[in-house]
């Protein structure tokens, strides 16, 4: 049996990768994908802990995270399309009309 710590370390690595990608990547879609990666790291952590505590609560939480992530993606992609229509670019560095 795989010890619980392995799952947690993997989740922590995934989460950190997501944070790093969020900060480094310049394309909005990639930035959005890095958020999804962070959410999946959270899901893995929940499932691992649910197994450890023998409680279904953590697994139920995962379903809600997935549903909300889907709702968020719907809105997020719509906003991305809106920004592409007005600006013709998806580079985060070029979306800076309001910097003073």
């Amino acid at each position: 049996m795989v010890p619980i710590a392995y799952y947690l370390v993997l989740a922590a690595i995934l989460f950190s990768t997501g944070v790093a990608a969020f900060l480094i990547k310049r394309n909005i879609i990639t930035v959005f994908m890095s958020i999804e990666l962070m959410l999946n790291a959270v899901n893995l952590t929940f499932v691992a802990f649910a197994h450890m505590w023998h409680q279904v609560q953590g697994q139920i939480f995962v379903f809600f995270v997935m549903v909300v992530a889907a709702a968020e993606a719907a809105v997020g992609l719509a906003i991305i399309i809106a920004i592409f229509r007005t600006r013709q670019t998806l580079n985060v560095d070029q979306i800076n009309l309001m910097k003073s």
């Binding site: 947690l8 989460f15 997501g18 969020f22 909005i28 930035v31 959005f32 958020i35 962070m38 959410l39 790291a41 959270v42 952590t45 929940f46 691992a48 802990f49 649910a50 450890m52 505590w53 409680q55 609560q57 953590g58 139920i60 939480f61 809600f64 995270v65 909300v68 709702a71 968020e72 809105v75 997020g76 906003i79 991305i80 809106a82 920004i83 007005t86 600006r87 979306i95 800076n96 009309l97 309001m98 910097k99 003073s100």
Partner: protein, 509 residues
């Protein structure tokens, strides 16, 4: 009435009103006015506020297997959110009227956002908090980009969306770790489980992650970078709403999580919040000094006010909750009012952006200028305004618990804040007329509609009453603080009878 109906009555009413608006919107003719939908929204908000008031008679109600707890604390924030939404709706009733094709969506989204905010304040299970947070966030992401053709609007929307989701991921990771440390996601059970946890390090990490997530939502420094851009680009009524409503709800969640969920780690999170508060006040006020754009300046001012509010968290539980709750109400009244005036002055096209555009406003629109002046004085914290008593209670609560330095930093910052509020104030009352207005030829002032006048009067009255007769609100805030702490202690005793000394402490108060 069954507890499941009673506990979420305001949320049900708002959801029904929102769905009704969504259904009615496509039935209306393309060219016809959307104002009736706005009136449905206003009626729904009034009913929801009434339902919250009605809940006050029932004391603490538990529902949905103990995930929802309607207590004076949640009712205080429910009433506050209903009031914020009411003023926003009244002052923006004709904002989208002539420009946007689907103004009805705006009213529905405001109501759905309010449902999320209200749900956040009455949840005692982190799963429900998360769902409420997302309902309110997703609605606000869309509202920030409501002026679809303008590129600043979509920029504001995407920034809010990306950083908001980023913060949510941190918040969720914190919940996952709290679940790992204590075996539960219920706030009261987490508090009970922390006493016996085998992994205090994971518990502390979870707390730090939750703090980061919520600090983003309340725009506390150093997690504030999104605020100026988002507030500047969003439509003025939406900025007014999102600088007060979701913030009030996030502060309510923060109060519940810190004081009910992690009371045993207060010595640790108090330091973190001390740093957040000091940084927010300083960065917010110094940043505001440099701004020419009025909405951007108020964005920095809202960062500073989040800092003042965080000062309250360093006090003893009951004082902290009542001071923070009172400050949230005072801040909401003056900020939502200030943005309502900006909505009326600028209109949909936001013709008045910088401080220069406000030059000589008093000569052109004397009533609006004096109302804005009153809100600015309240934001400074001049006596006989809500802002003064808010600051007074927060700082005296901090001093009472020995955090004198934090109060000193706060007071110095209040002094610095005078400069930028007064700069706008002097500009409005100066004799000169702005150059931009002459070239644009938009000198014909729009008439302020009757609902907008009612909304502005409500906000101004609220600010004034909180400054002259703070008694009633303060009583409700104190009732909220005391009853929540006692109820949580009772719940913890039921969950874990061995750490019951907490309840004895509480009842002695």
């Amino acid at each position: 009435m069954s507890p499941n109906v009673l506990a979420l009555l305001p949320e049900y009413i708002l959801t029904l009103a929102g769905v009704l608006i969504m259904l009615a919107e496509p039935c209306l003719k393309h060219s016809s006015s959307r104002k009736p939908l706005g009136w449905i929204a206003i009626a729904g908000t009034l009913l929801a506020g009434g339902a919250s008031w009605f809940q006050l008679g029932f004391g603490t109600v538990h529902a949905f297997s103990g995930t929802i707890q309607t207590d004076p604390f949640s009712i205080f924030f429910h009433l506050l959110i209903a009031a914020i939404v009411l003023v926003t709706l009244l002052t923006s009733l004709d904002y989208f009227e002539t420009y946007a094709t689907h103004a009805g969506e705006y009213f529905a989204l405001v109501l759905f956002g309010a449902v999320g905010m209200m749900l956040m304040t009455c949840s005692v299970e982190l799963l429900m908090v998360f769902i409420g947070l997302e309902i309110s966030s997703i609605s606000t992401y869309i509202m920030a980009g409501m002026r679809k053709g303008q590129s600043t609007a979509s920029e504001s929307s995407i920034k809010y969306f990306l950083l908001g989701s980023f913060a949510t991921a941190f918040f969720l990771y914190g919940i996952a770790l709290a679940f790992g440390a204590t075996g539960s996601t219920s706030i009261v059970a987490i508090a009970a489980g922390l006493g016996t946890t085998a992994t205090p390090l994971i518990a502390f990490t979870s707390l730090a992650m939750i703090l980061i997530g919520l600090a983003f939502k309340v725009s506390a420094a150093p997690f504030h970078v999104w605020t100026p851009d988002v507030y500047q680009g969003a439509p003025a009524p939406v900025t007014g709403l999102m600088s007060t409503g979701p913030k009030a709800a996030a502060f309510a969640v923060l109060l519940r999580i810190t004081f009910s969920g992690f009371p045993s780690m207060q010595h640790r999170w108090a330091i973190l919040i001390w740093i957040l508060a000091a940084l927010s006040m300083t960065i917010g006020n110094l940043g505001a000094l440099l701004q020419r754009d009025v909405k951007r300046m108020l964005a920095y001012s809202s960062i500073a006010h989040a800092g003042y509010l965080l000062v309250a968290f360093t006090a003893f539980p009951v004082e902290a909750i009542s001071a923070a709750a009172f400050y949230t109400a005072a801040y909401a009244a003056m900020n939502v009012g200030a943005f309502a005036v900006i909505t009326q002055v600028g209109g949909f096209d936001e013709t008045a952006r910088t401080i220069d555009d406000y030059t000589g406003l008093a000569a052109r629109r004397p009533v609006l200028a004096s109302v804005l002046a009153f809100f600015l004085l309240s934001l400074i914290g001049i006596p006989f305004t809500g802002g003064f008593f808010g600051k007074f209670y927060v700082f005296s609560a901090a001093i009472g618990s020995g955090h004198i330095w934090l109060a000193v930093i706060g007071l110095i910052n209040s002094g610095v804040a005078c400069f930028y509020y007064l700069r706008l104030l002097f500009a409005m009352f100066s004799r000169r007329t702005p150059a931009t207005e002459l070239t644009a030829g938009a000198s014909q002032p729009r008439a302020t509609s009757v609902p907008a006048v009612i909304g502005l009067t409500l906000a101004a009255l609220a600010s004034l009453i909180l400054g002259i007769l703070p008694g009633n609100t303060l009583w409700l805030a104190q009732y909220a603080g005391t009853s929540t702490m006692v109820e949580d202690a009772r719940q913890q005793c039921i969950a874990h009878p061995d750490n019951c000394q907490l309840q004895v402490q509480m009842e002695r108060r």
